[in-house]
């Protein structure tokens, strides 16, 4: 049954030469056998049908180019007689009906349309008021963007009728906050209240509600069953709404898979599966959905394992939510699914990468306490345990149960089969990881709740919720709200030692190999916030964690030790360096290559960098005295008149003081043969460092003042670059931070070459420093700066390619049109410029790539040499 029809005739043109054009359209709309009625005449290009369902529209515009007429049909339908929805259908009209002049000379007869037809490309749209409708629909497809400087958002806000923003904000608020704080009322009451509020706005704000709801599904997965229950209730009251939200979510799922946002895609899948519990989707179609995912696992050939792994992971991840229901109603299908997964996991899957990503690894006789299991293997074991337990888990809040009476009679929708975007060479998938464990139930306080076992599905579910909160807040780098949400979560999770679990998850993210999902410093400052918000439990768990890490340093990957050192030194600097240092005293006497010794020594070193030498002496126990790092100061010996290079050094010192030019400096560096002397160059550089020893700004100023000198000499040979590095080391070996900073600067200034730096770092001369973090930090910094630079160039290259291709199309588009000649010429020359830029960037990118490849080979080579 049909209520109101809104028709719109929209005209679009490209502004090139002004002329009047117009078109008229006639037709009749039927709803079943009855004419579609309820009429009000309105605007020139907008109208309603008359009592017989007939309409006439005409439109004209002064445009410079041919117009694109579009006939839009907006239909308010009554699905159940209470809640009208809105359908939108578009028809493109033949251009031959457009005539010159303001009054149309021809009328296009669209004939009789029965609105019971379901159109292939039907859209749904919220229309707030007629004014809004006209503006937004006409504005939507304007080919030329307005170049007003207040941007799109403001423009939209201005156009919307007053109050829309307010309602939108209110809806955002009530939907995203449901279930957060129960103000005395039960959650069930709150859900019911929310549904009533949404009902009220369903008529005019339907698409807004769908948008907001979908956003909550994607970004608030920790409240997944709250939203699935709300959607269930709304679907029971209004069948179409359920269908629309499922449609929206399947669309989002495709978009997220396309853009490689697998976290978001997974959340949508979990939600869709849980809609089986709240009776929005048929169990049949959910089974088919899962089966279609599994089918890809066995059908797709020659795709990376990580792609298939993700599909398996997504299915396994959804089973805690829907497993019990499947077990009861589709036991055979469930068994088939599990059988399929088992085949893949046990027979097909490879795990060679595992030792590379493990945080701990057994070394000789020292074995690891916790097995660092592959994530899929672990989840598979947990799911098997869940199956043994008859799919009964104790964690997921099943809010839908309270609404069983409402939900049981609801009409259900079918979920379309799963389809994944095809694999392309550049597609990226989530890396595999190991399940990081630090604590055992015995590590947690005896009088507190018990830590769920390694194989318990509850452990997995809670860890996932914690991870969701961290990652979704981490997207905004918002440590404050992240800590706040985690603290709120901790309040509700009273049946587990939650501080230990939160800490373990934060550390698991921080220690993820090859790299953590978020910047390390984000986790470091998040842990500080958590210590403040959970003062009773968190600092204790944290101290215990550090102690365990220290005890197990022997089996820890060196790079993870480095991460712990960076984190804990920062942490201590925020807590007055108070720590039971005495406990680590034993490690100081151990051999210099003992992991515990390295651990303690490097933490002291980094604490020194964040504070100062006297402070270090203050907070470390007295017996640490002999083990303190050397006083950080420059070692400069050329000012001693007995030094054989005293004369040379004085000469350079004078040259610096008299502000000698690069030419004078270069002259002074030349030997009798006219080539640059290594000794002189080393002394020149030592003098420069001595003059700039006060602060880094001083050194940098000196470096940039004599950039030309440095670059010219160091380009004369690798051995001259080596001289720079040796002089730097001789001056600053007591303070590696300076070495790191100066090397980094000179790499950026292209005075030093990466390969020379690496071969120096791993040379026999430096063997005694091989246990030091600064050496590896220097290398890693150089490598990551290089890959950042390459990524940047790659981005520019891709942009240029797009730009070039778009120019190509634009020229082709214009073929056949009457064009002015010079415009074509202009376009051609622009295209030529774009081509040149593209080629330039392409070459630069390739050169850098080759450089990087060779550099890696060099590193392998020098590492290999230093090991053998």
């Amino acid at each position: 049954m049909l209520r109101i029809t809104v028709l719109a005739l929209a005209l679009f043109g490209v502004t090139l030469a002004m002329r009047d054009q117009s078109i008229a359209i006639h037709g009749k709309l039927l709803c079943g056998a009855k004419p579609a009625s309820n009429v009000r005449d309105d605007l020139l290009d907008q109208g309603y049908t008359d009592g017989n369902g007939e309409f006439n529209l005409k439109g004209g515009t002064a445009e410079l180019t041919p117009i694109d007429p579009v006939f839009k049909l907006f239909i308010f339908i009554c699905d159940d007689g209470i809640k009208p929805g809105m359908r939108k259908v578009k028809f493109a009209l033949p251009k031959s009906y457009i005539t010159e002049g303001q009054v149309p000379k021809k009328t296009f007869d669209i004939g009789i349309l029965n609105l019971e037809t379901i159109f292939a490309k039907e859209e749904r749209e919220l229309i707030v008021s007629r004014k809004h409708l006209k503006m937004s629909n006409l504005g939507m497809r304007r080919r030329h963007e307005d170049h007003d400087d207040d941007g799109g958002v403001d423009a939209k806000r201005r156009r919307a009728p007053p109050g829309v923003d307010e309602v939108q904000r209110k809806l955002e608020d009530v939907i995203s906050r449901v279930g957060d704080k129960e103000d005395g009322a039960s959650l069930e009451n709150n859900l019911e209240k929310l549904c009533n509020v949404l009902d009220q706005y369903m008529e005019n704000y339907r698409s807004n509600i769908i948008e907001i709801m979908a956003g909550c599904v994607v970004y608030l997965p920790e409240k997944l069953t709250i939203y699935s229950t709300v959607v269930g209730i709304l679907n029971a009251r209004n069948f179409n709404f359920g269908g629309e939200i499922v449609e929206k979510l399947t669309q989002i799922l495709q978009d997220k898979l396309d853009s490689g946002d697998f976290n978001a895609a997974l959340n949508v899948i979990l939600f869709l599966c849980d809609l089986g519990n709240s009776r929005v989707l048929t169990l049949n179609s959910i089974v088919e959905f899962i089966e279609s995912m599994l089918q890809l696992v066995f059908e797709e050939k020659d795709v990376p394992q990580v792609r298939i792994d993700w599909l398996i992971y997504a299915i396994l991840h959804a089973l805690p939510w829907i497993g019990s229901e499947l077990k009861e109603k589709k036991p055979d299908e469930l068994n088939n699914i599990l059988e399929g997964i088992k085949n893949y996991i046990q027979d097909t899957r490879k795990r060679e990468y595992l030792p590379l990503i493990q945080v701990w690894c057994s070394r000789g006789e020292v074995t690891v306490i916790h097995e660092q299991e592959d994530y899929l293997d672990c989840l598979w074991a947990q799911i098997n345990k869940l199956k043994e337990d008859n799919w009964k888990e104790l964690h997921i809040p099943r809010h839908h149960l309270a609404f069983e009476s409402v939900l049981q009679d609801a009409l259900q929708h079918n979920l379309p089969a799963f389809s994944a975007p095809v694999h392309r060479e550049e597609s990226q998938y989530p890396f595999p990881y190991v399940v990081f464990r630090l604590f055992d139930y015995a590590d947690c306080p005896d009088d507190g709740p018990v830590l769920p076992g390694h194989r318990a599905i509850e452990r997995f579910l809670i860890e996932e919720e914690i991870r969701w909160i961290i990652e979704n807040n981490g997207r905004h780098l918002d440590k404050k709200s992240c800590a706040k949400e985690l603290a709120q979560y901790a309040e509700t999770a009273t049946n587990v030692p939650i501080a230990y679990m939160i800490l373990e998850v934060v550390l698991s993210q921080m220690f993820k190999l090859p790299s953590a999902p978020l910047p390390q410093i984000f986790y470091h400052s998040l842990l500080l916030e958590l210590c403040k918000l959970l003062p009773k439990s968190f600092p204790f768990a944290l101290a215990q964690a550090i102690e365990l890490v220290y005890q197990r340093a022997d089996t820890m990957q060196p790079i993870i030790i480095d991460r712990v050192v960076d984190w804990f030194s920062f942490h201590l600097s925020n807590f007055q360096y108070r720590w039971s240092w005495e406990d680590w005293y034993g490690s100081l006497a151990a051999s210099a290559f003992d992991p515990k010794h390295i651990f303690t020594k490097e933490i002291i070193e980094k604490c020194l960098r964040l504070s100062y030498y006297d402070r270090l002496k203050e907070f470390l126990p007295d017996n640490f005295g002999p083990h303190l790092p050397p006083l950080p100061e420059i070692r400069y010996t050329f000012d001693d008149p007995d030094n054989e290079y005293f004369e040379t050094a004085s000469k350079f010192s004078q040259l610096f003081q008299s502000k000698a030019t690069d030419e004078q400096m270069l002259e002074a560096l030349k030997g009798p043969e006219g080539d640059y002397e290594r000794d002189a160059f080393g002394i020149f550089f030592s003098v420069l460092l001595k003059l700039g020893c006060k602060t880094y700004s001083h050194v940098f100023a000196a470096l940039s003042r004599y950039h030309h000198t440095l670059k010219t000499v160091s380009e004369a040979g690798d051995e001259l670059q080596l001289v720079l590095l040796q002089a730097l080391y001789a001056c600053w070996k007591t303070y590696p931070q300076t070495i790191q900073v100066v090397v980094d600067k000179m790499l950026k200034m292209q005075v030093l070459d990466c390969a020379v730096v690496f071969s120096w770092l791993f040379s026999a001369d430096m063997k005694h420093e091989m246990n030091r973090q600064w050496l590896f930090d220097t290398m890693n910094t150089a490598l990551s700066r290089l890959s950042r630079h390459i990524n940047k160039v790659e981005g520019e290259y891709k942009d240029a390619e797009r730009e070039f291709n778009s120019k190509d199309n634009r020229i082709r588009d214009r073929d056949g049109d009457e064009q002015m000649e010079d415009e074509e010429l202009f376009a051609a020359s622009a295209k030529e410029a774009a081509r040149e830029r593209l080629n330039e960037l392409k070459e630069k990118h390739e050169t850098l790539r080759d450089f990087q490849k060779n550099l890696f080979l060099d590193i392998f080579h020098v590492c290999f040499k230093s090991v053998t």
Partner: protein, 162 residues
């Protein structure tokens, strides 16, 4: 990093990371200043101890990303550190990471205040207070050993300072 297409509930109540402070001596229109603040890769760091050295700032802020340079705030007359600095990063993204993570953390046991800066211009490294250091050191009421003891007005009335 943040996808604009899907509504993100956590975006709703997020405050602006740019504080209320506006440099009154900024050369340019208010609008230009806003744009500069929103695109700059420079941070202002406040509430430092006078004794904090440049290397410490490099160490701490280098953990946020790639630091281009650090400009220590100096007393206009004495040319000694007076408790603030600017940190310039190579990219906005790195500056954002440092800003979000390091604001309100401690350096030399003092809680540092991190804020966006429209970009360093020569001259801005000097304190703008009458005494040569920062204006805020002329108004605070507490005794702060890290920042020269009593505030400069009290101290100079005591006859010790200028």
């Amino acid at each position: 990093m943040v996808d604009q297409l899907t509504f993100d509930p956590r975006n709703r109540n997020r405050g602006d990371s740019i504080s209320q402070y506006r440099d009154q001596r900024y050369k340019g229109t208010l609008k230009e200043q806003e744009i500069a603040l929103r695109s700059s890769a420079t941070l202002y760091i406040g509430n430092l101890s006078y004794y904090t050295r440049e290397e410490q700032v490099y160490e701490l802020f280098g953990r946020g990303g790639d630091v281009r340079r650090v400009i220590m705030g100096l007393d206009r007359f004495r040319k000694t550190p007076c408790g603030f600095c600017f940190v310039e990063f190579y990219t906005r993204m790195d500056a954002e990471i440092a800003m979000e993570a390091l604001n309100q953390t401690r350096l030399d046991e003092r809680t540092v205040r991190v804020d966006w800066d429209a970009g360093f211009v020569e001259g801005r490294q000097y304190g703008r207070g009458k005494h040569g250091g920062q204006v805020r050191d002329e108004y605070r009421k507490d005794y702060d050993p890290g920042r020269g003891g009593w505030n400069k007005m009290i101290a100079s009335r005591g006859g010790g300072d200028e």
